[in-house]
Structures are given as C-alpha cells and as structure tokens.
Assembly symmetry: C2
Homo-oligomer: 302 residues x 2
C-alpha cells in the first residue's frame, strides 16, 4: 500500500509540536499531494487577492515522520518525481514585491497547461520547469510560518529544487517532521512579483540519513550536475555571504580541497545566484559544478 498524503493534510508553520500525519521508513518512497500557495482559494481571474483568507496561505503537506532520524542527523530528501496538476495562478499586488511601486492594478491571472508548456495570456507558451517553493523540516523550537525561509528550509523558492534533485537538511527533532508545498510550474530566479506560476501538484519522495555528512552546512542541494549551498538572511548581501561560506565549508571539510583551491575555483567556476528577494528574509545559493570535484576524486557519500 503506497504511503500518500492528500492535499487535505496540511500545516502552515514548521514546528516541533506538530503531530505527524504519516510515518515512513528511511528509503521508503512516499507521495505528497500539494495545494497551490493560495490553498486553491483563487478559482478564477475574478477572484482577486483581496478575497484571500491569509491564514490559509502557503500550506505544506505533512508533516511526515521519518523513522530513526535523530537530532543532528543529516537527512537527504530525494525528489523522485514532481508534477504539477490543474492550472497555475499568478497575482499582481500594488506595493508588494520588487516592482510594487510600479504596479497599480490588482490582478489574478490563470495560466493553463498545454502539454509541457504554461500558457500566459493565450500568447506566450513557456516551457515548464516544475519546482518546489516550500520544503523543510521542523526547527528545534518555536514555529516558523511556511512563508519564511530559514535554516530549516521553508520558503526558499529555489529553482534547483526540482525532479531529480536531492535536498539535505539537518534534523532538529526525532523523525525530522518533513513537509512541502508551494509548487511552481515555472519561476525565474528572484520571483520578483512575489509569485511564480503557482500550482497544485504531486511529488514522490524518499528520505535517508547520511551519517558521513554530519555537520554539512544545510540546506544543501545536489542535482545531477552541481552542488548548491542555500542561505536565507535579512539582506541579499548577507544571504550571499552565508551561501558562499557554506560552500567553502563543504569544499574544504567534506570534499577536502585546500582553502585556496576552494576559493579560486569558486571564483572561476562557482556561481553566486539569487533564489528570491520578496520575503523579508532573502535567499541566495552558491552553485559549484560536480565535474570539478570528480577531478579531485570526491564523490558524495550515499
């Protein structure tokens, strides 16, 4: 019997006090259906953002208790299959987002899917790149609303978090209490009007503790081609510095590069990138290509 949660099983803040909605073994596949970030409240272009119940924004499906996970364990979560369903919704909101000062008209746009494209204004067909906006685990204490990104993950809005990627977290409570939601059919780095193509969806996942990675600076992402350190902070400058330092930590302490090699190579082939700039906590990532670490004889413990 497949382990699955429907999009009726959601929470709105990551917290150690949540009751697990499902328990899975390490290495066991499970499926989460997710709502869009508006919990499906905007049903047509006539529903503007001012009708929204803000208590039901950014739902994450879960939490999932992963058996045998203990605090300080580094957990790898594999995104095995990711698809969006239905259609996407976008909004413009005066005074919100980077262009809030330019936008005067509140609008809801519905974007239908045609094959592998997202259709904007019946005019522009954009290749899909489904990704997960909110993904994380419980912090050690307190309550982090799903709209916020932090060390536990959350609303990182990182375009690398897509099918075939793995995300590493450091568990803070037994079972980790994992959840995700806020899928985007496509989104650009920055998410500058506060939304991507907001979509319900379904994701197949698997989670596993990797003992050799204890101490890894997390959140950390692995794709088929690269590693990325992700950091959120009160300014993009601080987030960028944090992500850069976390990548240097990984390269020196886990891939065993001398610090000068790490720094010079990060300047040559590493990429400091923006995830999102529309939450009070901005998110940046530092990407480093795997092929360079292959040459140093490093491969990630599995």
């Amino acid at each position: 019997m497949e382990k699955k949660l429907t999009r009726d099983t959601v929470f709105y803040a990551f917290s150690p006090n949540l009751e697990p909605a499902m328990r899975v073994e390490q290495g066991e596949e499970f499926v989460l259906e997710t709502h869009d970030c508006f919990s499906g409240q905007l049903k047509s272009e006539d529903d503007l953002l001012d009708v929204l119940d803000w208590d039901r924004v950014n739902p994450a499906t879960g939490p999932v208790y992963i058996e045998g996970v203990e605090p300080e364990d580094v957990l790898r979560v594999d995104i095995l299959k990711l698809r969006v369903v239905g259609h996407s919704t976008m909004v413009t909101v005066p005074n919100e987002g980077v262009l809030g000062d330019c936008i005067s008209e509140m609008e809801t746009a519905v974007l239908e899917y045609k094959e592998d494209k997202v259709v904007f204004r019946d005019k522009i067909s954009i290749p899909m790149n489904p990704m997960i906006g909110v993904i994380g685990i419980a912090p050690a204490e307190g309550k982090v609303p799903n709209g916020e990104p932090a060390a536990h993950g959350g609303n990182m809005d990182c375009t690398l978090i897509t099918e075939g990627a793995s995300v590493y977290f450091t568990a803070r409570v037994p079972g980790a209490l994992f959840g995700c939601g806020d899928f985007h059919a496509v989104m650009g780095d920055g998410e500058i009007v506060i939304c991507g193509a907001e979509s319900p969806g379904e994701v197949r996942l698997r989670a596993q503790v990797i003992p050799e990675l204890k101490g890894l600076p997390t959140p950390f992402i692995e794709t088929p081609d690269l590693f990325a350190a992700v950091t959120s902070a009160g300014s993009l400058d601080l987030a960028g510095s944090g992500a850069t330092h976390n990548m240097a930590d990984f390269l020196t302490n886990f891939a065993s590069l001398p610090i000068n090699d790490a720094g010079l190579l990060m300047s040559l082939v590493g990429q400091l990138k923006v995830c999102q700039v529309v939450d009070p906590q901005k998110t940046a990532r530092f990407e480093f290509p795997k092929w360079v670490l292959d040459e140093y004889g490093f491969s990630m413990p599995e």
Copy 2:
C-alpha cells in the same frame, strides 16, 4: 589601415577630461589590446600581490572618441571578437573578497591555456568563456577609478559581456570616450575571491548611436538570446532592485508591454542575477529572454 590601440595606451579612471587616444567613426571597426588587471606586474607565481604598484591596477585601453556622439545619445558597442592571450593570473588575499576571513595565505596562481581550456593547478581544465570586466565611457563629470562600477559602466564584471554581445551606454560627453580592459578567460558570477582568470587580451569593437533608444536605462546588454539591465549600488539588494526596475522600464517603455504583463513575465522567465560582490559597489543584472518579446512583436532598433 586598421584602427588599433596597443596595451601601452591605458588610463586608470573614466573622466571627461581624458585626452582621446584614438578617434573612430560610428560603425567603424577598431581593435583594443588590453593588459590584465595587474598591468602584467605579476609575472610568475613568485610575485605576490604585496609587490604590486596599486596605481597601475585595472588599466583600460583607450579612451576612444567616437565621432558624432553627443551627450544623452544611447551608444551601442558591439563586441565583435574577443580573445585572451598569454596566460591568466589569479591571487588569494587574506581579508579581501567574500572569503577573506577564511584565507590566510597570500598566493599567486598562473593558469596556462591549452586549446580552449584554462588549466588550474595542472589538474582542472576549465572551458574558456572570455569576458570583459571593465568597460565604459566617461561620466558627465569627475573621475571614476576603473575599479568601480557605476552608471557609466566601469568594473561591472558581468559574465554576459563576451564575444557576440552588445553593451549600451548613455553618452555624457561628446565622443563618449570609450575604454575597456580587465579581461577574464573565465569567471563565475560573484567573482568571490576578487578575481577571475585575469588575462591580457584583444577585442574588436564597433560603436553606433541608436536614436530610437534615447532614454534607455543603461548600462544595458544584448546577447543573441537575451536582454539584461545592469545596476551597481552600495548593496546587492539595492543593485538588484535597480536592475529589476530598469528591466521593467525597458519592457514597458521600449517593448510596450503593459506593466502587469512585464511584472508577471519577469517573475516567470526573468532572472535576477549577481555580477560581482567584491567591490564596495555591488553589481546585479536582470535578464529577460528575447523569444518572449518576439511573441509581442518587439525587436530592438538597429
């Protein structure tokens, strides 16, 4: 007779008071040889950065007076051919760059070229992507050292500025007084240890006023695939906001998109990216794909 300046004809600050080193017609091709950013002072791995005469850092070759260019004209500079020569030099400097707090040993690394690769530590062969770090024109007044990026261009360290790209500037003085230097054989976005693969080189250029683009927010870049607005400011947050606003200005005032279309599409398929975070003035760019504007029937005036 080809118009050409050798790397002996350099300046260290963009200023309206510079004497033109060469005059070219609009549309006329010309060639600039450039030094590396250290003016070739670091000749081997034994020459550490502490031997450097800092008055001779970041030379730009020029200035070139472009006939018929008047203040407020928007000038398109085409990078027709770009090659690096010799070898590259890199440095690590304690307390400089994003990882300055981690780097304790000053080092100079020489990177030889093998075919189309830059070789690091005789171990890692990195595909070349030659680009121009310092490129600009005279500001209206004052003197901007070449190490600084600003509205006139300068040390933007933007990885898009490579062969086949065009850079748009707004002239502030007659003839514009163009110059460039600080080539990198390859560099990652961020340039986090303060240098890329610093290389001498040679570039073939052509410049032309585009009357229809008067008022374009500059610096602005065009590649075969995308447009990019580039902004420098005291923080990455401000630079990112500036670049985002400049792209919205371009999309609404030049490509004639409604502001809501511009904002939503920028959030869907636009990319806010980092150029460099190692000057006191940080540089960001906002990229927008050309194919979307093709669908709106827009093409850039030539």
